[in-house]
Amino acid sequence: MIKNFFATRWGVICVGAIIGVLAGLLQKFGNPGNMGICVACFERDIAGAIGLHRAGVVQYIRPEIIGFVLGALVAAFSFKEFKPRSGSAPIVRFTLGMFAMIGALVFLGCPWRALLRLAGGDGNAIIGLIGLAGGIWIGVQFLKNGYNLGQSKPTHKSAGLLLPLLMLGLLCLMLIYPQLAGENKAGVLFYSLKGPGAMHAPLLLSLGAGLFIGFIAQRSRFCTMGAFRDLILFRQMHLFSGVIALVVFAFITNFVFGQFNPGFTGQPVAHAMHIWNFAGMVLAGLAFALAGGCPGRQLFLSGEGDGDAAIFVLGMIMGAAIAHNFGLASSPKGVGPHGVTAVVVGLVICLFIGFTMRKKI
């Protein structure tokens, strides 16, 4: 048996460090501030690019997301870990994905971006991360009391390939309809002309970084939610050491490139409404914990053929569309007109899921 280096403590630390450095570099090469990589924001941009929402400032097919899934797919096939499976409460996973995204968009970032915002000096990230830990803590209480979404079943190989194929389809659309200078639409795709959606590293760089991260993250099982959960549930530092490495190396990269700007106000794509930064991430953290993985991990699992993780991803994309169509998403000006209501509704639904889906299997 060949030992999987990436699954060791040093392996997961290396993966966290590489993600931190690449995120800093992607920002240097054009991605938005403290958003070298953000799974939630980038899936939201994809939702916009295919017209599911019409927020003109956040529309772009992010090649990083495509790379994450396809890189994980390559790793899974290379190491005989492609195991097509599905059927573990898909509707619950879709709903959790939707509210995870809504919570993340109230804060303005997934756990990866929360860490990157911290590494860029954005103090609001500390409040978001405390909220994330709080949400995961609530999720852990449900896990301790028997919360369980039940077994998945092996399925057709082609079923496991569907989300990777969807991602490949998005890449094809991008190649068929490349961005036209000064136009907000090319063929069927929307492209932001201003705002975060207009800021992006070159396609090949984004795709290459995404593929590489997808590959090594699949090998290491890197998961930010799992890092907090294992620390709370089992007092285990394994995944958390990867998270610390991500912050440290992103900080070093930011420092080197002059991307470190400490403070609470005027931070890129962020607001300073502390209560809602906190509450948004409580909702997101709880939803991730109930679904068993952070948004990044759900993409890597999708690449391994996990159809339930794929449903969560589609739920997040739907959540992004709703968040922008209904005015739930925050902006640098603060929370959206209905963001507060959405967080409350989302928490109620997640608690409903947590309390009612307990089953000893």
């Binding site: 048996m1 999987n4 699954a7 190491f79 870990e81 195991k83 499976r85 573990s88 896990l143 369980n148 979404l149 039940g150 077994q151 998945s152 079943k153 092996p154 099982r221 998961c223 799992g226 959960r229 294992d230 549930l233 089992f234 285990q236 394994h238 068993g292 993985g293 996990d306 339930d308 299997i361």
Partner: protein, 72 residues
Amino acid sequence: MSTTIDTRGLSCPQPVLMFMDAVKSGNENEIIVFTDTDASKENVSRAAENKKYTIKDIEQQGDEYKITLIKD
């Protein structure tokens, strides 16, 4: 005493939780865990080492693993 846990088809962190329950439930000298993903195999192995269990054997059966753990 020996006990067997079937974690096949269950997603993270259920396999580790079930292992921990087996550890807590009493004086199991041998715990056999069936799992079907590599991530679960690694997670259970890691948890077992933390709880002072030795991995006696990991047997691959098709797409599944049978992990035999012995209390130190």
